[in-house]
Amino acid sequence: RFSQNFREVAGRFLVSEASTHLLVFAMEQRLPPNSELVQAVLRLFQEPVPKAALRRHERLFPGSDRARVTVQWLHVRDDGSNRTSLIDSRLVSIHESGWKALDVTEAVNFWQQLHRPRQPLLLQVSVQREHLGPLASSAHRLIRFTSQGPSGAGQGEPQLELHTLDFRDYGAQGNCDPKAPITEGTRCCRQEMYIDLQGLKWAENWVLEPPGFLAYECVGTCQQPPESLTFKWPFLGPRQCIASETTSLPMIVSMEEGGKRRPQVVSLPNMRVQKCSCAWDGAPVPRKLAP
């Protein structure tokens, strides 16, 4: 606004109508140690809209009966500033009522990445208009979720459902036992595998260092969760034994530069397995919490 080269353009709020609820969940010790979070579901009870209000709405806004429900994870930083991350957003009809399930796995993943002692899990639920504009429906005003009432009276109050798998049963076992042969029943583990570069024709006179390296590989099988879980998440494939952490491999190679041979260092990514884990095939990679 202080520059001569730019004209100041004033903005104004077109619409700022939303009801926002802040849900606070004390999470410490809710997730068992040595376990994997499979899914976190936020359940909100949508209260039925009184029939008279429904009739009035249909008369004023025929065919426009939805509102947008958005869930955001709220992070209060150490310096007191707030940050929100979009977790889930969907359209909800005023004709519906009952429990609504929203996937908040990502919010719990974010929360798990916070430094200890961790603040409670803060979920901001807002109900907004589906469309903007002077003729837009005001269906969002009719959507109500049961909020937390006095203790003991809270039927239909918000719930957070955490589904976890115990690593002792469903995880990998670290390094394989070198004395035990690998069979179909072997539990997922990291096995030594040496790549001998000296013995490879293409590497001869080209790769100067290293002569070979321990690459490791993930072998064995993973225990599959009970049928009831896979039914709930049909988009996930079976749990497989995969390399979950890898490191790079530096090499010295001989390269031609101006008609002369010069040794050069190059780093090959993801060449050595550091850790094997059991992971769902098709599961989304959790987003890293930005600083």
């Binding site: 570069l197 090499m251 040794p263």
Partner: protein, 55 residues
């Protein structure tokens, strides 16, 4: 990890389409300078410390 994957990654990193043809004569008198070896050792040490998360 297969040997072919190591080769493929190496070619990709060096922006080469095929393996350079090198004779034994090319290697004669080739010494790895100290600064190149130091860079290699530093990367080796760093790769032991840092891990990248896979799938």
């Amino acid at each position: 990890l297969t040997e072919e994957q190591v080769l493929s990654s190496l070619l990709q990193q060096l922006h080469l389409s095929k393996v350079p043809v090198l004779g034994k004569a090319d290697m004669e008198g080739l010494v790895i300078p100290a600064h190149v070896r130091a860079q290699y050792v530093a990367l080796l040490q760093r790769s032991h410390g840092t891990r990248s998360r896979g799938k």
